[in-house]
């Protein structure tokens, strides 16, 4: 596909990285010459310097032949204008990043009137993700499939857990839990395991199952799963606002610590149910006074990654709270993963992930199979993709044990007529199924791609 990305910030960079690797023709537009030069030396893309909302610049970037235009500059207005012009001139699909909460309330109207294919709000998306994690605090990450019926959960195996030293087949055999482990991350390595794989302490395990069986699984291996009852948020930015809104709706008691007096007043006005504390959240005394020891969840959402990491460490030492850390710059992801920080959330990565999912979906809409959902898991080293099988093909109608799939591909779950099947060797795929495929081989576009060549 011919794709234009306006804005080479963090999100633009992540998009360029992922989409250029997937073989799309990318043109990036930014007003700063250095930004454009840097990014076009890093990835195989074409750079255009200029204002992306200008008709001439967009023409130079080839908007006439573009299939998709993604506007991710820091200004909502510029993004919307870019999309409007691209839509009028090039008749392509458009995606805009809009982060101002005021526009966010009117998003339906904007989408309709400006003909946007997708509007993405990184802060809102991040808040959504955090809320989902807090619902099941045992997990580091939760992704949902099959309209929320199936879940992919990631958690770190504690040292004294009963599962340590057991091969995976014991989960169904010995522990009698109907879940399937898809990915194990051990150190730097990503493993797509089989039944004989033996678990070790500190492994990061991703598994699928329906809501009931995942809850049962956690209970069996004695990991606490209750939803959090109260949460402490440090930093009162947009993410904190969206998050507090959702958590209050879930019935969680919220405490927001924010430095800026004016912002505190605003938050108090917007969120009357939340307790807003005007203080420096990085002050040890403040945290202790506000009861960090007794909170169920601690969420570090300040604007500085280093501060967030420090805060989470502090919270880990002083409480048993579920930790969520916002990381903006994910360049050193592998180091951050080693830190045992609990869950990390990166708005930039989430945004890129949502857009990539859309792009894959667009690309495949002509094919017989559709991508319903796509999640990057384990620091972008593996993917979980949900395919909807529209037609019979070479993957349907044969038992899974007879299917020769690629070695790094695993079928994690099947959703058929509203029921969730955790697939075993004798199960087969049928027309109308939604299938979850977990793979470390990026860029599956079609369910048939899972078959090994020759």
């Amino acid at each position: 596909m011919n794709i234009i990305i306006v804005g080479c910030g963090k999100v633009g960079d992540a998009l360029a990285d992922n989409l250029s690797k997937e073989g799309h023709n990318l043109t990036v537009v930014d007003t700063k010459v250095e930004n454009v030069e840097n990014i076009s030396l890093k990835y195989d893309i074409l750079g255009v310097t200029g204002n992306g909302a200008s008709y001439n610049v967009l023409m130079e970037a080839g908007v006439e032949d573009a299939d998709l235009m993604i506007a991710v500059t820091d200004s909502d207005e510029v993004n919307l204008l870019c999309c409007l012009i691209a839509k009028k001139r090039g008749n392509c699909k458009t995606i805009a990043r809009v982060r101002n909460p005021i526009y966010n309330q009117e998003i339906g109207f904007l989408k309709e009137e400006l003909g946007l294919a997708m509007v993405i709000n990184p802060e809102f998306t991040a808040a959504d993700e955090i809320a989902r994690i807090l619902r099941v605090p045992a997990a580091i990450e939760i992704d949902t499939f099959a309209r929320g019926k199936m879940e992919l959960l990631k958690f770190r195996l504690p040292e004294d857990n009963v599962l340590v030293g057991h091969p995976l087949m014991d989960i169904t055999g010995h522990f009698k839990c109907n879940v399937l482990v898809c990915v194990v991350e051990r150190g730097d390595e990503i493993i797509i395991p089989d039944g004989n794989f033996v678990l070790e302490a500190k492994d990061i395990i991703s598994f699928v199952g329906d809501k009931k069986s995942t809850a049962r699984f956690f209970k069996t291996i004695k990991i606490r799963t209750n939803q959090v009852r109260n949460a402490m948020i440090v930093g009162g930015g947009k993410t904190a606002y969206y998050l507090a809104q959702q958590l209050i709706y879930m019935g969680v008691r919220i405490k927001i610590i924010e430095k800026d007096r004016e912002r505190c007043e605003q938050l108090n006005e917007l969120l009357p149910e939340a307790l807003v504390i005007c203080a420096d959240g990085t002050d040890r005394e403040v945290l202790m006074e506000e009861g960090i020891e007794y909170t169920d969840a601690f969420i570090a959402l300040t604007n500085m990654d280093e501060e967030n990491i420090m805060l989470s460490f502090f919270a880990r030492n002083h409480s048993k709270a579920k930790l969520v850390t916002k990381i903006n710059k994910f360049d050193f992801g592998e180091v951050i993963n080693q830190l045992d920080l609990g869950s990390t959330v990166s708005p930039k990565h989430l945004t890129a992930r949502y857009i990539i999912k859309y792009v894959r979906g667009r690309q495949n809409s002509m094919g017989s199979n559709n991508i319903e959902a796509l999640y990057k898991i384990n620091d972008n080293k593996a993917e979980a993709v949900e395919f909807y099988i529209q037609n019979d093909s070479k993957v349907t109608g044969i038992p899974l044990m007879d299917m020769k799939t690629k070695s790094d591909v695993l079928i994690g779950g099947i959703s058929r007529d509203g029921k969730i099947i955790i697939p075993r060797g004798h199960d087969m795929l049928l027309k109308g199924d939604s299938v979850i495929v977990v793979t470390s081989d990026m860029g599956l576009g079609n369910i048939e791609d899972i078959i090994a060549k020759n």
Binding site: L41, D44, I45, L46
Partner: protein, 494 residues
């Protein structure tokens, strides 16, 4: 430094060179020449070495500007080293340094020859000589990028190092497609010229060789008189293509993409054509008395100007015998060269424009010290880096020219001979004036001089920086830091 990646890509370059050697082999079969066996042997050797280098795929695929520049410089040296072997083996040019000079001259599209007569050479050797021009014109790395899937976006570093011009850009988002597009334009233009020359009743062998020479803006002929004995019509066809191959290939892309407004509004191309018209006019008037008619004088002037400004170096007349005004003007346009993004050498018209505008800017600054001015090229402002690099490039160019001039002067020939020999080599022209004029050759120089000129030719074709990087010790250290730290420790001891 990513040594594994450098070796891997070198392996590909050699494999491709082996494939290119099929052409002289085929020529030898057609003409039934036993000298062709040399090409077959060298082809197999090159293929073997290339395959050996290619055996291990590097684990780390990423590389940066340093590796990019090194890969390109080393590729060109390796290609020349293997490319000259057939001449040595089949006895056409028995001396290794001579053969290397001839091959480097071919790949860098210089066209400077150590041979006093080319007609005694085997047809297959002549074909290889001309074909090296065609390979070197657009560049073998660009060819590599067009056909093999090298992972990662850093490949732009390779293209930047090999393609001429102050700032190298892509035509389309993907580097592979850009490279493919460039080669398509290159091939189509070459075949059109070949066809036209054959239609003008030039012998087929000559047409192919001359088309290769023109396309790469090389200048090796297959006749002793270069292009002197071809008919006026054939010469005119060559003249047109000489000028065409000196034009920035972006223009052809714009024409293909139907962006005519952009295509015919390129500042660089306009200046380039203006220089040609002025030069032809002045030289034509100047040499009027040497020719029977005014038409003939201007026709010859046009051929020569086209040949020199595109840095090809074909000759249809002995311009060494022309008045000094014409000769000096030719030397001046030798240094200028043609457009960036073409197959030509020299400092390039776009750099000339940047230099002139930069000088004007600095002079203005004396009047208005606080004035802020931005230099524009093709109607858009260029970054400070591009401007600075253009000046540094020009400085380095002149430095290399001066040093080489002094070294060559040790031979004791006239300063015209020494200076124009160096200019003709570094600007990738071929013939200079006096002893190295269109009727002369480079055979009489000492081995040292030939080696210096070989360096000059490569430096000229690769635009100085890759070759300078090659002779910098820092480029070979594992990382720039380490050496510095070592030096520090030593200082402390002292």
């Amino acid at each position: 430094m990513n040594v594994a990646a450098i070796i891997y890509i070198l392996g590909y370059v050699l494999t491709i060179e082996a494939a290119f050697m099929l052409l002289p082999c085929i020529t030898a079969i057609i003409y039934g020449e036993k000298q062709g066996i040399a090409f077959l042997i060298v082809m197999l050797i090159t293929l073997a070495v290339g395959t050996l280098f290619r055996r291990k795929k590097p684990k780390k695929t990423g590389y940066y500007a340093r590796e990019g520049f090194l890969i390109v410089a080393l590729s060109w040296i390796a290609m020349s080293a293997f490319g000259c072997l057939p001449f040595v083996i089949n006895g056409d040019i028995p001396n290794f340094i001579d053969a290397l000079f001839e091959t480097v001259s071919g790949f860098t599209t210089t066209g400077a020859s150590i041979l006093s007569a080319v007609e005694p050479l085997a047809k297959c050797s002549l074909m290889w000589r001309s074909f090296t021009h065609w390979i070197g014109g657009m560049g073998v790395i660009v060819f590599l990028l067009a056909i093999i899937p090298l992972a990662g976006g850093q490949n732009i570093q390779l293209m930047r190092a090999e393609s001429p011009g102050p700032s190298v850009g892509k035509l389309v988002p993907k580097i592979k497609e850009t490279a493919m597009l460039l080669y398509k334009i290159y091939m189509v233009l070459t075949f059109v010229e070949m066809g036209l020359l054959i239609a003008c009743r030039m012998p087929v062998f000559d047409s192919i060789a001359i088309a290769f020479g023109t396309a790469g803006t090389g200048g090796f002929g297959v006749r002793n008189s270069s292009c002197g004995e071809y008919t006026p019509l054939q010469q005119n066809v060559i003249t047109v293509f000489l000028v065409l191959f000196g034009i920035n290939f972006n223009m052809y892309y714009f024409i293909i993409a139907k962006k005519f407004k952009q295509a015919f509004n390129m500042e660089e191309v306009k200046v380039y054509l203006l220089i040609i018209i002025c030069s032809v006019f002045i030289i034509g008037m100047n040499i009027m008395s040497h020719f029977p008619s005014g038409y003939e004088a201007f026709r010859t002037a046009a051929f020569q100007v086209g040949s020199i400004i595109s840095t090809t170096g074909f000759s249809s007349a002995d311009f060494n015998a022309w008045p000094w005004l014409s000769r000096s003007l030719l030397v001046a346009i030798m240094i200028v060269g043609a457009c960036a993004g073409s197959t030509a050498g020299g400092i390039k018209v776009s750099r000339l424009i940047i230099l002139l505008k930069g000088i004007k800017k600095e002079v203005y600054k004396i009047f208005h010290p606080r004035s802020v001015q931005c230099i524009t090229l093709e109607g858009r402002p260029i970054s400070e880096v591009v401007e600075r690099t253009a000046f540094v490039f020009f400085g380095a160019y002149i430095m290399i020219l001066l040093i080489s001039f002094v070294v060559v002067a040790f031979n004791g020939y006239s300063s015209t001979t020494s200076l124009t020999a160096v200019i003709a080599c570094i600007s990738n022209i071929g013939p200079g004036l006096d002893l190295v004029g269109p009727m002369g050759n480079y055979g009489f120089f000492s081995v040292l001089t030939k080696s210096v000129l070989i360096f000059d030719m490569l430096a000229g074709r690769l635009e100085v920086f890759p070759m300078l990087l090659l002779i910098m010790p820092a480029a070979w250290r594992h990382s720039g830091d380490k050496g510095r730290r070592k030096g520090k420790i030593k200082d402390e001891f002292n």
